[in-house]
Symmetry: C2
Subunit: 271 residues, 2 copies
């Protein structure tokens, strides 16, 4: 009976950890939740960590001391990343995705939380060492991906708007020129969204010339924040160079053959 209880406790412990990626949970939380001693919690956590690492499902990080605890890191790399990228590539190359003008219809994938959770974890893993405090995107289509990156980092998401609304209090607006169409656009961010000196990771679904990303960088600069990187789902191969240098894409879009309806898009695989 005792053995069954241990297994059941480990199930619940795993659920509580996985539910809260990157959140530091004090060991006492588990002591109270399960009514067990700290030494038992430590043993259980060692077992959870070994299992996750064995099956490449992430890892646990332990922080020692009075303010310490344990956090679940949803690492996704190597085969666990490449399988997802391959699966998304297959969906992206379906011929009926072509929209007149050389665009690809991606909304069904962008709003498929199952895929986005995993892509968010891949982006988190690739930018982990940049240690962002905030994830920044601009409305609308990049938001689900940005939510999932923010979830994987357990950091707040900040969304720049393309208009200015009174419900947000005072705001900073910038005008920027989109690199592809050359149109002037406006982006707005509420003033209290990003404190000075914050480290900001920019996330977006699509990058062509990089005008939007450059606009977001200027917005961060206006707030005295620091851009630590830009992660996008799909970047076009051309133009090259783009308006910003420091970006990473999960996919490179090389173009569409309008006759054969072939979509040429390649993942940037983990090595």
């Amino acid at each position: 009976m005792e053995k069954v209880r241990r297994v059941e406790r480990m199930v619940a412990m795993t659920k509580l950890l996985v539910d809260s990626p990157q959140k530091l949970i004090p060991l006492n939380y588990f002591c109270d939740f399960f009514g067990i001693a700290k030494s038992t919690v430590s043993e259980d956590l060692t077992c959870v960590r070994q299992s996750m690492e064995h099956f490449q499902l992430g890892t646990l990080e332990t922080v020692a001391g009075a303010t310490g605890g344990v956090r679940f890191i949803p690492h996704r790399k190597g085969p666990q990343a490449n399988d997802i990228l391959q699966e998304v590539r297959e969906r992206l190359t379906e011929p009926d995705r072509i929209i007149p003008g050389g665009f690809i219809y991606m909304s069904d994938i962008l709003y498929d939380w199952h895929v986005m959770t995993r892509l968010g974890e891949i982006i988190m893993t690739r930018f982990m060492n940049r240690k962002p405090d905030y994830i920044l995107t601009v409305e609308t289509k990049g938001i689900p991906l940005a939510v999932m990156v923010a979830r994987a980092f357990n950091k707040p998401l900040v969304i720049a708007r393309r208009d200015s609304k009174v419900t947000e209090g005072s705001a900073i607006s910038i005008n920027y020129v989109t690199g592809s169409s050359g149109r002037i656009q406006t982006m707005t961010l509420t003033k209290r969204a990003i404190p000075a000196n914050s480290r900001v990771l920019i996330v977006d679904d699509f990058m062509k010339a990089g005008g939007t990303a450059k606009g977001l960088m200027e917005l961060v600069a206006e707030m005295n924040g620091i851009v630590v990187g830009t992660g996008v789902l799909v970047a076009t191969e051309l133009p090259n160079p783009k308006l910003i240098d420091d970006y990473e894409a999960l996919f490179t879009f090389r173009g569409i053959n309008e006759t054969t309806k072939e979509i040429n898009i390649e993942p940037v695989y983990d090595s």
Copy 2:
């Protein structure tokens, strides 16, 4: 050693299930992943289900037959729901949230994925018997909540835009009058977003008179879809009645005392 292995397998199994809410996973997937017999998988799943139900962390649903499998349902009700609602209420009543004009600053909470995951599960649990095929919202601030509701249902999210972009192909636009300000606004939805006869759950962050929700209902009707309900985070007490009848809010906002800076907002608790 064998016992340790079972525990480690259960940890990994829990992780895989929790990672994919509502997704039907064939038992063979676990047979292949762990290299074990189906009877062992069944035993393990029984243990996972018992543990989750014991600790009120959700449940597992088993579907028999050749196309069957198991799915994790992230139920959140009773104390597990009320504790979160109470915690969010405390944050929402902080006096520095008041914005001139009688609004409340909510963005930090709306973009806190940890809270939003849990609120999304509460909304899923409350609307579960409506069986939606799609979750619909309108840009921008309701999106993180809608993402988390969609994640808890494992259903696609559809986002109506306040403008019309070429990258989405042909689209349907409607004009609607906001109930509170009486302004005419436009909402646009790409045509292939919602197939005819789909069951649609509308999700938004804030409802005053209900004009936006009514506009979304008209947009769904234009696509021959069926609105099965409307869930919002915060609804104001007045005006009453609103432009739509069938909605449920997690919080009722009764007003702000501009002198004492008290925010009067109450959760709709689970009974």
